[in-house]
Subunit: 355 residues, 2 copies
DNA sequence: TTGAAAGCGCTAACAG
DNA sequence: CTGTTAGCGCTTTCAA
């Protein structure tokens, strides 16, 4: 037994921070009254409230959410699984999420899957341990075990949402709310735009990230539309390093292959397209005269180049905000969150349509 | 008393998920044995382990971290406060953080402050409620209340780290470990590079984000070095919209002001500098002949332009990884985390040095 | 308006 | 190797 029987920190376990009990002592009430004051200040007598308020200030009390959540069973946590937090497209979605959650009294628990379904599964397990009130996952592809966890969570009252993917066909329903758009349909839109300009020999340049199935699906839609209209499509895949460089490399490949007299190319994202555009400029290839270029994502740089890049504008931050709204509503009402289609807009600029 | 005495879900409160107790029943042992199996599988007899493993599978048990942390007092949470999650510079830091934390059994609780110290304070309060084992905040400027919370947390054994700022002078020590670099010194380096090229009339274009004091400090260092070497410095501030556009606008302002015969300009970030560079191209201003341009951040686009942009390369993801390592080490040993200078590298390209 | 009793799900300490 | 006892800090009835 230590001689240091300092009354302020005589706890045996715990983390030594002030608890409700110490605030209550300092205010001359019991713990429950302090607890009430924190949650429903109106239900406490003004004088008591003042004393408690002072005691909180004086002790520097910070409520312990773990204990609170454990006791109440209500969860304040919103957990999100994102492929890559550093990628500008998802970064803005997360920013939208954090903004949408701000001042809602909810906290965001975030993990990056690195586009790996296996990581997603293990991280989902870790996340579920926090008994989140809501779960936001990217896309609709999951391992069987992850799917089961998501279903169990939803059955247990957790709001589950899949973002960045919302196919139009009923066949792909999996019982979870979705916020996003149909990537195949977007691929079709991209093809349609180019076909309407009269192109008959096109290319789709896919992302080098093998697990980015959404980019692949845009390619499928693109190819389907081309074929439906009797045009030729070539499928390429970009490299994985710097996206601008990868785009430049793709353009070289496209140009050096005499068997591919492509007059228009669509890309999995704007960075690839911008790289190709800059390389075309270096090579003196006229855009869109000799080659039309179409991107996806509407990254700021695309607007700055000459010619400016035609692209699809997805609601990057909007998806995050919509997801925040949806889970907040679901957590408030107890209902399941509702799906929402967030449309993607075609931004026509000079890289596909001559001035 | 309800008639529905379904043995599987007869709990009164709680969230209805299976608990240790149900796993234990299914495995024919007591809760503590299951708990042990989960934390230290080696300390359980192989046969028992197998039965427990099966019971976990069968029940779909997920450990409740809130309860675990509450009981053990040990925290698995790493909380981080970042100005803007969507900004590419911080997005990569977060990505570095999540990667550094992966498979460590820690979870990242993330909040964005929007560059506001008031937000930081209130979010810090919310974060502290989770009794995080580590706290990562951006920069060394905090409100007095936030500072007190950080100190209290550190005194209570929480690992606290400030990232993206690590001044060299002792005067600015505040007792927290820091991972980053000295922004004033970087500003000096930037100026030195331009001064060494013979420039005598320079400009520093500051960020339009008023609260980004780190960009301001780079400007201070820049100005100090210029003045020390008897050169003239003009201070400008960029607009707040699209950074490329803001950079373009700055270049127009610079060019149209006859009283400012500036021959070199440094920018708070690469996007501003790239905007200015592209605008110079549009206007036929020769870079670096008539005007040398210097950025900060080493964003990928800077390498692609012609001339390529000279810039400072900060360890964007590296800071996140280093922070992860530092807090993991501190949480493991119980010591305070250690500071680390992450150097920033000058990348000389053609926008300041003619080929 | 305030308090007492009970318990959320888990783990530390000590036995056996 | 396994179990018992006690309790983490808070909130929910229900009662005063």
């Amino acid at each position: 037994m230590k001689a240091t029987e300092d009354p302020a920190k005589r706890q045996r376990r715990g983390h030594g921070r002030p608890t409700l009990h110490e605030v209550a002592d300092a205010a001359g009430v019991t713990r429950i009254t302090v607890s009430r004051f924190i949650r429903e200040p109106g239900k406490v007598a003004p004088e008591t409230a003042a004393r408690i308020q002072a005691a909180i200030q004086q002790t520097g009390y910070v409520p312990n959410h773990q204990a609170g959540q454990l006791a109440s069973g209500a969860s304040r946590i919103v957990a999100a699984l994102i492929p890559n937090v550093g990628h500008s497209i998802f970064a803005e979605t997360i920013q939208g999420l954090t903004e949408g959650l701000r001042d809602s009294g909810r906290e965001l628990l975030l993990m990056a899957t690195g586009y790996s379904l296996e990581h997603e599964e293990s991280q989902l397990r870790a996340l579920l341990g926090w008994a989140p009130g809501a779960l936001i996952v990217t896309g609709r592809q999951h391992t069987p075990a992850a799917l089961r966890m998501l279903r169990d969570a939803q059955d247990g009252g957790t709001a589950v949402i899949e973002i960045w993917d919302h196919p139009e066909d009923e066949d792909s329903e999996d019982g979870f709310a979705r916020i996003g758009f149909d990537h195949k349909a977007i691929g079709r839109t991209m093809a349609r735009h180019l076909l309407d300009q009269g192109h008959r020999a096109l290319a789709y340049v896919d992302s080098g990230v093998a697990e980015d199935y959404r980019a692949h699906e845009r390619g499928e839609g693109f190819a389907a539309e081309c074929e439906a209209r009797g045009a030729k499509v070539h499928a390429l895949t970009a490299g994985t390093g710097d996206a601008f460089d990868a785009g430049r490399a793709v353009l070289m490949a496209l140009g050096s292959d005499a068997k591919r007299p492509v007059t228009a190319a669509a890309f999995a994202n704007d960075h690839l397209a911008c790289g190709a555009l800059m390389q075309a400029q270096s090579l003196g290839i006229s855009v869109p005269g000799q080659l039309a270029l179409l991107g996806f994502g509407d990254f700021p740089i695309g607007r700055q180049l000459l010619p400016a890049l035609t692209t699809m504008r997805p609601p990057r931050a909007g998806i995050g905000q919509a997801a925040a709204e949806a889970v907040l509503a679901a957590m408030a009402t107890g209902d399941e969150p509702v799906s929402r289609t967030m449309p993607c807009e075609l931004i026509v600029r000079a890289s596909t349509v001559p001035a």
